[in-house]
Point group: D2
């Protein structure tokens, strides 16, 4: 690893952005050369994030594409929906490598984007430029690319849990039901009554049933894996915790496969992929076991009584669901070992 | 309501028992005459529960059936699995009315009990004496009875959410999947690493997938409602909160019914039942909205894309899932209004 | 209790207001006849507070003094700083009894109010009309009065913990240091980054050291108790929980008094006052032990090594620190038993 | 840094031990060669700590001093009180460097140890061998030593907050009052009702007032700094969070010093010490701002009205209060930069 890469982060004052800072500060081959925020430009980043005191002295830059291009080789976009659609093409034109953490380039057509995000999105031409960076599934497409669309948090947990079974033909894709749960940080740092501590604490709630904008992203990949259109039932819930996602996935089996066979098949599927860990029979992962790390842990329960499988998949939504996987994509883009700078042990307890 | 009832509580030092104390202290026609604990007999109850200081001065009694029969008219058994199987028959023989909050008398045969609870249970003869007190479903069987088996917390949330749809024939019972989540108090006051604050906090975990002892209780009632054997997929998860259960229930529709039709049908089904509240279209209940109360709140989402319904049902596991419903059963047994002493507004925030 | 009182609540969509609703719904001699909100007038209250579904069907009224006076006998003002200063005099003129939960009438002069609240306040004439309703200290001034200023949450916990010792001359008032901690609901339902779940969870923070607007309210009462001006050091902290305040109070002893003597003296001082509970030697109260109730629990530790006493005082900030004490004041105003409608057992766990 | 050190950890299944594993796995010059547990020897460490799956495959070793000496150069003792008193001398004799995280070697005489820990402790001779490794205060004594006693969590937060002011003579040591608050992990992984989630959640409690065994450790260092015996008032509280300690420290000023002067004086005192960060005027640190890191953040409020200073000091109890400082001591012992392997950005949010 002789080269050293200069990185800029747009949206540094969101949770994805500030986690990128944490990860990249520990990355041996990356230097953060610009932290960017349209809303807080000019202020020291440590003003809004006192945990960065004495660690990062930089003031926030405004969004200025030529300036970014002069300071950085790669730019991470950790911006709200709609921003990257405009920024990413300019940045690519300016010669930057781009990793977009938003949903703006994840769907294959503008129509589907508009249908689910309820807004205008990127053009078909721009969408076609992006590689969907779900590393353990599409990672081989990433090396050498200029533009990666980083998957969503719910899709990452769900798809790593389901794609091997769908590809193997072990489950009937038309029966897939995903019951997903997320910590509150998944909603971002913006204010809202639902994120008020006194409302969210000691509370478990359901939201956006069958309407979450991550649904088409999941269906797109499952359809690709199944070789035919897959439509799923997908529920999202808020858990009174800061970080963590669990996707509990249900499907009817094609034929008979017991839990051990699932474990073995998945271990084979993910062989050599350090960030997926398959649990033993009778054990299921908990979100805390991946907290602060880039792991996705998966466990299984086949129920012979109903001939269904339950797949439990957990990630840290801010890491493998956002900043961690973005850095994993950076590593893959540049031909580095995908774990570079990401060998972070989960923080426990 | 001219009569005044004397109540004893066995297992007063567990969470179900101590909540019974809270509810019965506010009941206009009940006096608690004995709080009983096999493990702490002789100590003042406020020693282990300082919140009862100056409210309840009683010392805990030992388990002594004749003594209880001399002091009380009705006894609540809030005891660990296996205890009520032995105690309840003695208490009935001594002339006490019995409301059992444990699982010992919920299943119809000793064989099913042993299969799921992994222990010997009550005899068939004793099982036959108990009425399963899921008030909004079997409430008409309760008045005048001597022996009520109070439903489990997961079954209460799940069944109130599913029975109307099953009875109406609107869903295919063979496709039912229940993804259930519970606060930590559901595990009781006993110690265990999984309940250690530092392990459970900021953590969401799955446990006992397809193996929870509440499964046969749910299937028994659903089979009764469907008129044929129903087998379900049932997952349980721990939420980092003290109280609350959500059952997110999935099923394939028979025919076409939209969310509004579900709402209307359920409102009709539960007409006059004060403790079930059906949410408007596009709104789903959160556990905090029933916190500390006897309500069960239910919401729906029909997905036309998959022709499935998602039913979201929430309760406070310590109240409607245990002590609250037990008092509701007492009210029904004695011919009182079922809301007597239970008109508690949820505590918010 | 032959009379029946009609109550209106201004500020029904804040935490103090909604808790007043919970308490008054259970009060045997009060009927809520109007719930009022300037921001949400016209909407059903259950829209913003789904836990009130089927319990309270009322729509929110606008602030209209003649209308309120026609519907109610007493009005509770649970409004932000500055609102009651204007509303209360109009309401008194309209013949309403007024209980103000805000800080607008707690301080004895407009100057002190302006100094600490950084805004114009009520006139001296209006301030003089209000009785400071710290029930266990000034309760004898309340019966028959028309206008009560309900104490703040921090002052209630602190003063019930310190006044007896100051009055007895057992501690040197010039040495008082109060280290106070509050759950997040103390900050109200308004949005702010510090109340965002992801920021407040798993976090303990200090704020407004020596600058909190409750300081002059505490000093005013302590000065009254001491018979000379008392100035204190007062720190406030945010605890990652919804409800509860603990004031840990320190002072140098005058002479020698051990923990047992403190316990006995306080028990005498508060004899007959049902809402103050004094802990045994070696035991200190926890906030959860008063959760959802109107109790103030107090414990002591005299340290012979330093000749200081530590007084630990806890309340539920929404109850004894706001709505509960307001209803206690209503009871006292009208000559009822102060516990009427307030005999709520703390919710545990 | 040419050498590479082999480390063993006794007590690997406690929170201090498992955090040592996390930190040392990221240390560039240390290899963990043995993880040791008397209670779980033979089991893979990932069995009890699934977050270590695929990261650490080792089975737990039993406590066998010659074996440890053959495998390791340095041993960390993260053991309950009383264990290190016996083990440390044997390990030193076997040629191991020893860093003890327990309280067994922190106090200067066996008498004081017995008085506060209520048990027999190490001999005077053994006590004399240990260096008290409060790095920012006594760090210059550590290089080249064989045996370090790692400070307690409460003492670390408290002393880093108070020593500069005491040394400077700016505060009167006889007036020091410390109000300390800790997350639940401070109590260790052992089971206890007070650590049960349903009891500790939504609860703030006081414990061991003036009796905590960390008091003599604090007084010892403050006395050393003051040049005369210092006795303090010290209170400990449990916060419903997993990690974090805040010490809010109060003292009367000698003379006049405003907040800015305190800030400047402390910045000078800690110049060059990377792990102490002094906040700006009007800002105080929150525990979350050091979460998962080795920082100690300190803020000040001088109150001119009372001529007292309030010093707010926060650490992560598992890091700077245990494992992090232990590794910092290792670095100092071996002459390495004290930040080696410890440049961990706090995890936020």
């Amino acid at each position: 690893m002789t080269e050293h890469v200069r990185a800029a982060i747009v949206g540094s004052t969101g949770y994805g952005g500030v986690e990128l800072i944490r990860v990249l500060l520990g990355h041996p081959a990356v230097t953060i050369t610009s932290v960017i925020s349209s809303s807080s430009a000019g202020a020291p980043i440590s003003e809004g994030f006192p945990h960065l005191n004495s660690i990062m002295h930089d003031s926030l830059d405004a969004v200025d594409v030529p300036l970014i291009a002069s300071k950085a080789d790669v730019v991470f976009l950790a911006t709200p929906a709609g921003v990257a659609a405009k920024l990413a093409p300019q940045m690519l034109d300016a010669g930057l490598k781009v990793i977009d953490l938003s949903g703006d380039f994840r769907l294959k057509t503008p129509e589907i984007y508009t249908q689910w995000y309820k807004r205008e999105g990127a053009s078909q031409e721009d969408l076609d430029k992006a590689v969907f960076g779900l590393c353990e599934i599409y990672g081989e497409q990433v090396p050498g690319k200029e533009f990666i669309s980083n998957p969503g948090c719910y899709p990452t947990a769900t798809l790593l849990g389901l794609v091997p079974a769908v590809k193997a033909g072990w489950i009937d894709p038309s029966t897939i039901i995903v019951d997903a749960k997320s910590g509150i940080s998944g909603g971002g740092r913006g204010l809202g009554l639902g994120f008020h501590y006194a409302e969210a604490n000691e509370n478990f709630s359901a939201y956006k049933l069958n309407r979450h904008q991550h649904i088409p992203e999941i269906e797109q990949v499952l359809s690709d894996a199944a070789g035919r259109e897959v439509i799923i039932t997908f529920s999202t819930h808020l858990v009174p915790m800061t970080r963590g996602i669990m996707a509990t996935c249900y499907a009817q089996l094609n034929g008979k496969h017991d839990t051990r066979e699932f474990i073995e098949m998945y271990r084979n599927f993910y062989e050599g992929r350090r960030f997926v860990r398959i649990r033993e029979e009778g054990k299921w992962p908990a979100t805390k076991e991946v907290w602060g790390s880039n792991y996705c842990d998966i466990g299984f329960a086949v129920d012979e009584r109903t001939n269904r499988v339950t797949v439990v998949s957990v990630i840290d939504n801010v890491m493998k669901g956002a900043a961690g996987q973005a850095v994993q994509n950076l590593n893959l883009m540049l031909g580095w070992d995908e774990t570079t700078g990401l060998q972070l042990t989960p923080v426990y307890p």
